[in-house]
Symmetry: C2
Subunit: 340 residues, 2 copies
């Protein structure tokens, strides 16, 4: 029941043709377009086997074949050749990313770039707080009982949070608090901070104890528990590409899923180092995205991963090209971050 080389070649041809033309592909057109060296009838037999094995299917009895999710999977795993980026794309990437002034700027440029290059919906996760470490903490007095806590992470992310104090705290004490939290926390990974924060409270002088306790609560909430991961999105208009044929006619579920940040983070954020993950149709746990595929990877300075990025499109997508682009963009962004 194994698939010989020719059957695999047929599957590859079907996937490539279908992705290109968006139409079910028949045996005759297939032999015309690719040099398979055999007759349509032979191809038909191969197709029958491929269909039996669940790699392709017929939309209707008298129509051509269309790859199934399983077919795409096989294609991605074993049949697709890596498509090198065109020089034009390389140039586009570089041009797009130089001149970024700011982490926000980097993320926005990246997501737009990805959307533009892949002509799909792009998602970029901001560098994860959990994977960052503290570069600096700042306490800015807003009023006598209010402080603005600003945290700057080594990834360039800046988070702020209002701290509502129970009692007024004199300016000098604020300076002390500031010095203390910085001494203790700077340089440590955010995920490692909870014990440190606790120690801070325990060790602080009595007159600071109250303020420090409130502060520590906010610190823990902001930096650890509600470690709110942010992300940027672009290219939703690309969903309408290919008419309404993709996504079985309704963008509804897709758009809904795209608004659920949690869902997206799950898709994009679970990246393993240097792996590109491809989720095809059904493999996706999210019901709303059963008709979509996601190509994602991690990025970060050097070999560490601080966040994920990727694209989402119809299962009928150009996997080799998309994978290449996603990887390339992730690499460039990593380099950019490393420069900071």
């Amino acid at each position: 029941m194994g698939l010989d080389d020719r059957k695999l070649a047929v599957l590859r041809a079907i996937v490539e043709d279908y992705v290109a033309t968006q139409e079910p592909v028949g045996s005759k057109t297939l032999v015309e377009r690719h040099q398979l060296g055999v007759s349509p009838a032979t191809v038909r037999n191969d197709m029958a086997v491929l269909e039996e094995e669940g790699y392709i299917r017929q939309p209707h009895t008298s129509a051509g074949r269309v790859p199934t999710d399983r077919g795409y999977r096989l294609f991605v795993d074993r049949l697709s050749r890596v498509k090198p980026l065109s020089p034009a794309e390389r140039r586009a990437i570089e041009r797009f990313l130089v001149g970024a002034v700011d982490l926000d700027d980097v993320v926005h440029r990246t997501v737009r770039l990805l959307a533009q290059l892949t002509r799909q919906v792009a998602v970029v996760q901001y560098p994860s707080l959990a994977r960052s470490s503290v570069r600096h903490l700042e306490l800015v007095p807003i009023s006598t009982t209010r402080l603005m806590l600003v945290m700057i992470a080594d990834t360039g992310r800046v988070e702020q949070r209002l701290v509502e104090l129970a009692a007024p705290v004199p300016a000098d004490d604020v300076l002390d608090l500031r010095r203390l939290v910085n001494e203790k926390l700077v340089g440590s990974r955010l995920s490692d901070t909870p014990p440190l924060v606790q120690a801070l409270v325990d060790e602080s002088a009595p007159h600071l104890r109250g303020a420090m306790t409130t502060l520590s609560t906010v610190l823990l909430e902001t930096l650890v528990e509600r470690t709110e991961e942010r992300l940027a999105l672009a290219g939703t208009a690309n969903l309408t590409r290919g008419g309404l044929l993709d996504f079985q006619g309704s963008l509804r579920p897709i758009l809904e899923a795209l608004e659920e940040e949690v869902v997206l983070l799950k898709l994009i954020g679970e990246a393993e180092p240097s792996t590109t993950r491809v989720l095809i149709g059904d493999e996706n746990e999210v019901d709303n995205l059963r008709a979509a595929s996601v190509v994602s990877t991690g990025y970060g300075p050097g070999t560490t991963i601080v966040g994920g990025l990727g694209v989402l499109g119809p299962t009928r997508m150009d996997y080799p090209g998309t994978i290449a682009t996603v990887r390339a963009v992730a690499r460039y962004v990593g380099e950019l971050l490393a420069q900071n």
Copy 2:
């Protein structure tokens, strides 16, 4: 050629019916559903006049009537009665907005709330920098030649920017710089800062002059020129409501327009105090949004306006309800901001 009361009543009935049913409305159904006190034939005559005047039109010869943009305009201006919010809506608003912890949080909650209540696409502009004043400026040394400039505005917005110095600056000097910019700039409107920033450079001690010059450039860029207005978006999935009938079958242009922040800011951000602006279809200058309507208003603590918010939907929308909701949400957000 004036429209007497009955003709206006007919127009109102047409708009209300069409908005509710989404189908062209004919003379017979109209008299059945509304108590107009006249026969269908009479209504037909009135309709003919309304059509001649451009308030309604027939999709095809033998179909019912549909309001034109002009018809909606008249309806909004003169015919619609303000629809009071339901208690449920009131409660939803309050429940949604309490517990916001952060400006980001407020904006996100607001935009989701608006999308949910109006069942349309919601847009909320972050408090405009140009309309804010400086509450505090912070300089955080990142390396010997790099500073992170953090600005906190009175609206709660926090902006940061990397400052790349030409030469290393000792820690003491950073403190001096920090003190100087705060003394000079805190409390002033961002739009008024340019001369102040210039003065800062002129007045600074020689050994600070170089650093201050670079700093001032970044300040001007960040706070004035590239006064990057941000916004939040939600409810794009609502565009698919009403099948593909709205927006003449293609979401493409709408989605494209929604990705152009500049475009949205133009729509939402030009709010006059306490006015609710309604742009219907063609009245919109953006080509991509010719099939859409926008209801927007300004918000801010007290009577000042610091930003805009609104919703975007098909021209066939429930204007009275939408207007009421948009207004109510804006008012609540204003109150929330005033508490800070």
